[in-house]
């Protein structure tokens, strides 16, 4: 067990080290010259040399590399070419993206799992083909097209959500509720994510206690209702309920678009693994015992089918984040994605690289967590080759 965790931790450290190094060399390759020649055209040669010395650009490559590593591991993310701290830029944009990503990915995962389970259980037929085709169509849709259609339907025709197209920054949120508070969109987004986590924890705990002491399973709809109620109660208790609702209203379109874009993959993988699981002997045995069909589907088949889906989704995290980033730009939602593309317009490579680094780090940590979780629930993995997971769809 200890050996397994050591191995995993070493693997993670090695990958992070390699990834950060790769980013350094990518910057060197992609940025045509150095910062000074590119952006300080008005300075004289002597001043340029001084600036180079100040930024450490006159050092040999390996010393620059060491400097970059030192900066990274001491938590300093560096400066953008326009003089802002990258850390500050991220602080202003990250919370909104985190909000969209976690809610959207969670919804997409649940919808995908449910649809995959349902279609696999039904077997081939018209309904299954239609669902599959719809999922694939959403999965391969050009994201801007999806965003326009959603904006037209939900924001223009139905007037449900606020259209966010064209608003690139949220430094000042309009509306009365934002005038007499010190709350910002960023802080409220963090609070929403935190309150959702707390609510999730409470719901899981309640479900566990109900199973343990009352031998009852709480139906899914009831848990969902409980979850929403708890979240709502937290917002109300801490006095930012209207603000949270306003933020959620603004974030609804990107969340919806991301959910539609992302659920297809989960659904397709779930359908494949579930179809395989249904052929297993224990499913036949459970049905032969006379256990109700829904119970066989949910507890015997789906639970075992879900594991490969989780690992595939975790591996696909960089691609899921790509989806968020593209949708944010198409909507003009002021998250990390918009920051990324705006920096690209301005050739502001440090910001771009830090964002890519962030995506990679998130993916690595998710994979390490997944491995530990797997090892916890399945002892076979601790002793086997952990890389030999199933990758085929």
């Amino acid at each position: 067990m200890v050996g397994f965790f050591t191995r995993k931790a070493l693997w993670g450290a090695l990958i992070i080290f390699l990834f950060v190094s790769m980013m350094f060399f990518l910057i060197k390759v992609i940025v045509p010259h150095d910062f000074v020649t590119q952006f300080t055209l008005l300075l004289g040669p002597a001043e340029r040399e001084a600036l180079r010395e100040e930024l450490g650009l006159n050092l040999p490559l390996w010393e620059q590399y060491l400097l970059w590593m030192k900066q990274f591991f001491t938590g300093r993310l560096g400066q953008s070419f326009y003089g802002y701290e990258v850390f500050e830029m991220l602080k202003a944009t990250l919370p909104l993206t985190v909000l969209v990503f976690f809610i959207g990915a969670g919804l997409a995962f649940m919808i995908g799992i449910w649809l995959g389970k349902f279609t696999a259980w039904r077997g081939p037929g018209l309904l299954t083909s239609t669902t599959t085709l719809t999922s694939i169509a959403f999965y391969t849709a050009f994201p801007p097209l999806l965003v326009w259609l959603l904006t037209l339907v939900f924001a223009k025709r139905l007037n449900l959500f606020r259209s966010v197209i064209g608003t690139r920054t949220w430094s000042h949120l309009d509306g009365e509720i934002w005038e007499e508070t010190t709350l910002t969109a960023q802080s409220v987004s963090w609070y929403i994510v935190l309150s959702f986590l707390v609510a999730l924890l409470i719901v899981v705990l309640v479900g566990y206690l109900a199973r343990r002491f009352f031998r009852r399973r709480i139906p899914f709809l009831l848990s969902a209702l409980l979850f929403l109620l708890i979240a709502f109660a937290i917002w109300h208790a801490f006095g930012f309920r209207p603000h949270a609702l306003d933020i959620l209203n603004r974030a609804a379109l990107p969340i919806l678009a991301f959910t539609l874009l992302a659920f297809g993959e989960t659904m397709l993988i779930m359908r494949t693994t579930m179809t395989d699981t249904l052929k297993e002997e224990y499913v036949k045995f459970a049905r032969a015992k006379g256990i109700p069909d829904t119970e066989v589907r949910d507890r015997h088949a789906a639970r075992n089918a879900i594991m490969p889906v989780v690992s595939r989704v975790v591996i696909a995290i960089p691609f899921l984040l790509t989806g968020v980033v593209i949708i944010e730009d198409a909507l003009g939602f002021p998250g990390v994605g918009t920051l990324l593309w705006d920096s690209l317009y301005q050739q502001d490579m440090p910001v771009v690289m830090v964002i890519l680094l962030l995506v990679g780090l998130l993916a690595i940590f998710a994979r390490i967590l997944l491995d530990i979780f797997y090892a916890y629930i399945d002892p076979r993995i601790r002793f086997a080759d952990s890389d030999a997971r199933e990758f085929t769809e």
């Binding site: 990958i15 994201p143 904006t151 960089p318 730009d329 890519l356 997971r389 199933e390 990758f391």
Partner: protein, 569 residues
């Protein structure tokens, strides 16, 4: 003095052509089998039709420009129609209307198809080539090579290929579709393709035929190119299709963001429509310009994804066996039940004063499985009486009786016996025997027969007697067992195909040198969990006259475990 080769160059070329012909026909058979599976999926066919339509679009544009469309009006870059106001709504002159600069939307749409194809195909080929190369090196050499390659691919898995492509497109604005596709292929190939293909390659390296190739002296190049690579190709085809999807969407997005490049692109049309129309809100946007390219992009990606799912059907060995099983099931459909129902006795009707109550005694139909073993034993001699075993010179040796003894020792029941052949069935007992057990018993009986006759042949060789050949064919199938509640009426009907398959397999097996034993694919599947008890030899597809599709047949060469010990007195 040099020794001249016996073979003239002509002979060598002829031999080479012959080998090439065999190889080509094998490939053709494989493609045909794959196509048969692919055709059954309506979604995959839809994708293929979409791709064909896009292909026609790509070809149509230069032809239209040369013939029907005057290039001054319809040129995708500089065309302008002085006869209509711009932007124009769809009309007969401009089927999809024009954009604000007066360019025909349909012409732009068609012109953007070729670069998209170039990009997609480059990305797909690069992904596949890099993926296969790295994966086969990793899977073949293992150890430190494998672990370092998989570390690198782990690293590339963290880079989102679409975002990297946009960064490259933004940095090098004059980059063409082919280098861009190459770049996508590089990242996807080292990343996801290597991971997927490597895990598949590791499975292949554990297969017995790799072992056989090693034992018979095959070198690294031989094993990699003759055994490893061909098995990776279907999965690589699948990855190629998904690479097209990713690359095309990302490419459209580069242009959509305005990192506009030299070539016409569906994303460019959207970007231009937004930029030149100065329409900031969606309500003022020109839908006849926005929707067609966005839809074309989505459909292009969709088409390749659907085809990839069709390819997956035969690329994945698990789904292939499933398919064969499914196509087999066509034989056992309801019409087979009809004669049984017709021949069932009429229900008795008892009349009472109150009403007529029909006492319907419905037969219960159950489906069971059994396995047939068709065996033929002959003495092979050059004499005139070579065929009839019982009438041959050494009639003192009753080979058929020995064989029957062995079969009944394994629980088989004799159905038909001829002078030199017999048909036995396994699993059709009073009690229910699972299909696996029936197949297991039959295959063990078959191997026991072969072992027995090998021993007999050794003895006969010492006595200068002619050899005894035994040919065995085993096929499994379902039969319908009908029994009414009063247990008066009982019948069971085996499907003719199963028996015919067993006979046919027996005929085939007799052609093998020194006889042999062939089993059908259903038997092979039934044996699934106990297959380790047998040594499976060659296998290949065979077409039976009564069957629409091909099915695999397998040769059993021996066994590892004996379940019945029959004493040889």
């Amino acid at each position: 003095m040099t020794v001249q080769s016996q073979q003239s160059p002509k002979d060598l070329i002829a031999a080479y052509l012959h080998r090439l012909g065999i190889r080509l026909s094998l490939t053709w058979h494989r493609i045909k089998g794959g196509w048969g599976i692919f055709r059954e999926s309506p979604l995959a066919m839809l994708g293929l039709i979409l791709i064909i339509i896009f292909g026609i679009m790509a070809i149509a544009h230069p032809i239209l420009i040369k013939t029907v469309w005057p290039s001054g009006i319809y040129d995708p870059e500089t065309g302008f129609d002085g006869m209509v106001m711009h932007p124009a709504p769809p009309s007969s002159r401009h089927i999809l209307g024009t954009d604000i600069l007066g360019r025909d939307v349909l012409s732009m749409l068609l012109a953007a198809t070729t670069p998209t194809f170039i990009l997609g195909i480059t990305a797909a080929l690069t992904t596949a080539i890099i993926g296969i190369l790295l994966a086969m090196i990793a899977a073949f050499y293992g150890g430190i090579v494998d672990s370092s390659i998989s570390r690198v691919s782990d690293l590339f898995l963290l880079l989102p290929a679409p975002i990297m492509m946009v960064i490259i497109g933004a940095r090098f604005r004059e980059i063409g579709p082919a280098p861009l596709g190459l770049f996508y292929g590089l990242i996807a190939g080292i990343g996801i393709a290597t991971v997927v293909l490597r895990s598949h390659g590791l499975k292949i390296m554990k297969m017995p035929y790799i072992e056989a190739a090693r034992v018979s002296g095959g070198g690294a190049t031989h094993i990699i190119f003759k055994h490893l690579t061909p098995h990776m190709l279907p999965l690589a085809a699948l990855l190629m299709m998904t690479a097209v999807t990713g690359a095309v969407i990302a490419d459209g997005f580069i242009a959509f963001l305005g990192f506009s490049r030299e070539y016409m692109n569906w994303g460019t049309i959207i970007y231009n429509s937004f930029t030149y129309s100065s329409a900031l809100s969606l309500e003022e946007a020109q839908w006849n310009v926005l929707i067609p390219p966005a839809l074309a992009l989505s459909l292009f990606a969709l088409a390749f994804y659907l085809v990839s799912r069709g390819v997956h059907q035969f690329a994945d060995p698990r789904s292939t066996t499933e398919h064969v099983r499914k196509s087999k099931r066509k034989f056992f459909k309801v019409p087979e039940l009809l004669p049984v129902i017709k021949s069932a006795p009429e229900p008795a009707v008892a009349t009472t004063t109150e009403a007529t109550i029909p006492l319907v005694d419905i037969p219960i139909y159950t489906r069971k499985s059994n396995t047939f073993l068709q065996c033929r034993i002959r003495i092979v001699a050059s004499s005139l009486q070579k065929n009839r075993l019982l009438q041959s010179k050494d009639a003192s040796y009753d080979a058929l009786l020995d064989a029957m003894r062995i079969v009944s020792a394994h629980g088989g029941t004799l159905s038909h016996a001829d002078t030199d052949s017999f048909l036995a069935y396994f699993g059709q007992n009073q009690e229910y025997l699972p299909s696996r057990v029936a197949a297991l018993l039959a295959t063990h009986a078959g191997t026991a027969l072969r072992e027995h006759f090998e021993y007999v042949n050794l003895r006969r060789a010492n006595q200068n007697l002619p050899e005894v050949h035994v040919g065995i064919g085993i096929a499994s199938g379902m039969f319908i067992h009908a029994i009414n509640q009063a247990k008066e009426y009982k019948t069971s009907i085996a499907f003719e195909e199963t028996v015919k398959t067993a006979e046919k397999l027996q005929e085939y097996s007799f052609v093998l040198p020194k006889g042999g034993m062939l089993i059908s694919d259903t038997t092979f599947e039934n044996l699934e969990s106990v297959r380790g008890q047998f040594c499976i030899g060659r296998s290949g597809p065979a077409r039976f006259p009564w069957s629409a599709s091909e099915s695999m047949i397998y040769e059993v060469t021996g066994r590892n475990v004996a379940i019945v010990k029959h004493g040889s007195k």
